[in-house]
């Protein structure tokens, strides 16, 4: 009886969470544009989606930004963790608390602050370039969005790698040095393999944060749109069934990804 009631509660919650998503998936196959009636099964919205250059460009941009930002953030963050770990406690603590700052800053404030800085710097560049006689007018787009993404991704890598470094036996690195291994090689051969799980977690976190980001991208790019920005502007214009098709595909992508991650961690638990 108790289990039945509890199951019922969770079932209600699942209904609340999934009803809108299911409705969207169903409507993505609706031949009629109206949500009022079912016009038969159709794949036309998917067809429209794959011929919509704005959406395809946004998808490509989102993937490029997420990939580059992840690679750069992972390198920056991992190096930072190794460096900070080797510092004196006081300095390390200061740096770690500063690294915590972007994570507690609301996204909208991060977004507007970066926008202010980019526009400010671009203004300076413009004035200097005019003075030289070669006016350069930079605008907010792919480059600024990428830099913003690297900035908010890096602390996540740092915070995923740091615990692994703390778990590591400090003597291992010293032993490698004593045995004549050059420091850089010791970092690569001794430290890196030990902290690899943290590095991978950080990279995965960065990638998902980047893929998913709306607010910071919205403020740091005006010429280029990522997928979230496309969805936002489409939603402001009103309902468009090809966005339903996009949602369905994105939902499936997340589902498959989660299943793979789950399988992977289940395998790790076994071995």
């Amino acid at each position: 009886m108790r289990k039945f009631l509890r199951g019922g509660y969770l079932g209600l919650l699942l209904t609340f969470l999934y009803a809108p998503i299911v409705v969207m998936i169903v409507l993505s196959f609706n031949a009629s544009k109206s949500r009022a009636k079912w016009g038969g099964f159709s794949l036309q919205w998917y067809q429209k989606l794959f011929t919509d250059t704005a959406i395809l460009d946004a998808l490509w941009l989102t993937l490029r930004v997420a990939l580059i930002a992840t690679v750069v953030a992972t390198i920056l963050g991992t190096l930072a963790a190794i460096g900070i770990h080797a510092m004196k406690k006081k300095r390390a603590n200061v740096l770690m608390s500063v690294s915590y700052l972007p994570m507690t800053t609301p996204d909208i404030v991060t977004g507007v602050s970066l926008m202010l800085m980019f526009v400010f710097v671009f203004g300076l560049v413009y004035r200097v370039s005019v003075a030289i006689g070669h006016p350069v007018q930079l605008s907010l787009g792919f480059g600024t969005m990428l830099m913003a993404h690297i900035a908010f991704d890096t602390p996540y890598v740092l915070f995923s790698v740091m615990p692994k470094l703390k778990q590591m036996n400090v003597n291992l690195y010293e032993a490698a040095l004593d045995l004549g291994c050059p420091p850089l090689k010791a970092v690569r051969k001794v430290i890196l393999p030990e902290i690899m799980p943290g590095v991978v977690t950080g990279a995965l976190l960065s990638f998902t944060m980047s893929l998913d980001d709306f607010v910071i991208s919205y403020f740091t790019s005006t010429t280029d749109n990522n997928l979230s920005m496309i969805i936002y502007s489409a939603a402001r214009r009103g309902i468009d069934p090809s966005i339903y098709a996009l949602s369905t595909l994105m939902f499936l992508a997340v589902l498959v990804l989660l299943i793979i991650i789950n399988k992977r961690s289940a395998l790790e638990n076994v071995s």
């Binding site: 509660y9 949500r35 190096l79 900070i84 500063v98 202010l116 400010f120 420091p183 939603a235 309902i239």
Partner: protein, 271 residues
């Protein structure tokens, strides 16, 4: 080469893309359009229009947090209980929407609530009048709860799972009835989870602008909306920066307050 130098690129990056932008926000907040020091931006905020917007943001975020807690706590508790502990699929299913882009979830909500949306169409086909479901505070609140409830469930679930079950058994052996076991043992030990759940829900709720724009149909503004407008529409960066600064202080203060309450609870909860 010293190992602590590894952190140098990261420190430079953070200085440029986190510290400098935030300092610029502070600078703009305390200057006028000509760059002269002024307190007028901060004073302008204490105007009934803006105070009422702040008040609306606060109470919507507050109710959103309370509702998420009321829905999420039982869900986390049931999921972590013996009845469903082995049901990994159920757990993944409840948290899956968290990984879906929040704009897509909001979009899904929109297509349910719109004037020509699913719910209204159903009402009409059953012979009822259309209801105005979108464009009001209720719709925004519903959208927030829908988006953020998984963020309340996850940390509470984690806290409950981490709990040493022997403590519960000890309480039972000492003759506590189920209600007292919950009140005296389980609940106090889950407070850290509740605290991080509250932070994870309250912070995005009080700073949002996209959810209110889409589900509020622009009929009323939240704090995030006015920041967005000041930067992207009216180009009043000085006042926008002052608003951002106020929002950041608000967030820092509420996180501080919560952590303080948490520390007190934990100290007292042991006995």
């Amino acid at each position: 080469m010293k190992r602590s130098w590894f952190a140098m690129p990261y420190i430079a990056w953070m200085a440029m893309f986190t510290i400098a932008p935030l300092l610029l926000v502070v600078f703009f907040a305390f200057t006028n359009a000509d760059g002269q020091f002024t307190l007028i931006n901060l004073r302008n905020f204490f105007d009934p229009t803006y105070l009422s917007i702040l008040w609306r943001s606060l109470y919507l975020a507050f109710f959103c947090t309370i509702i998420c807690l009321l829905i999420g706590y039982p869900a986390a508790f049931f999921l972590a209980s013996k009845d469903f502990a082995k049901n990994q699929a159920l757990f993944v299913l409840i948290l899956l929407p968290m990984w879906m882009n929040f704009l897509l979830r909001t979009y899904a909500m929109m297509s349910l609530l719109e004037d020509r949306g699913i719910i209204n169409n159903m009402l009409v086909s059953l012979g009822f009048e259309r209801l105005e479901l979108i464009g009001n505070e209720g719709a925004v609140l519903l959208g927030m709860v829908y988006n953020f409830v998984p963020f309340m469930i996850l940390p509470i679930y984690t806290a409950l799972k981490k709990m040493d079950t022997r403590v519960i058994e000890a309480a039972e052996d000492l003759g506590a009835n189920p209600f007292n076991v919950f009140r005296r043992v389980v609940f106090p030990l889950s407070i850290p989870g509740i605290v991080s759940g509250i932070t994870m829900v309250f912070m995005p709720a009080v700073t949002t602008f996209a959810i209110s724009r889409l589900l509020g149909s622009g009929n009323f503004w939240l704090f995030g909306d006015i920041i967005e407008r000041k930067f992207l529409e009216s180009n009043d960066w000085n006042f926008g920066s002052a608003l951002s600064l106020i929002m950041m202080l608000l967030i820092i203060a509420s996180i501080g307050l919560l952590n303080k309450a948490d520390a007190k609870q934990e100290g007292g909860g042991a006995w």
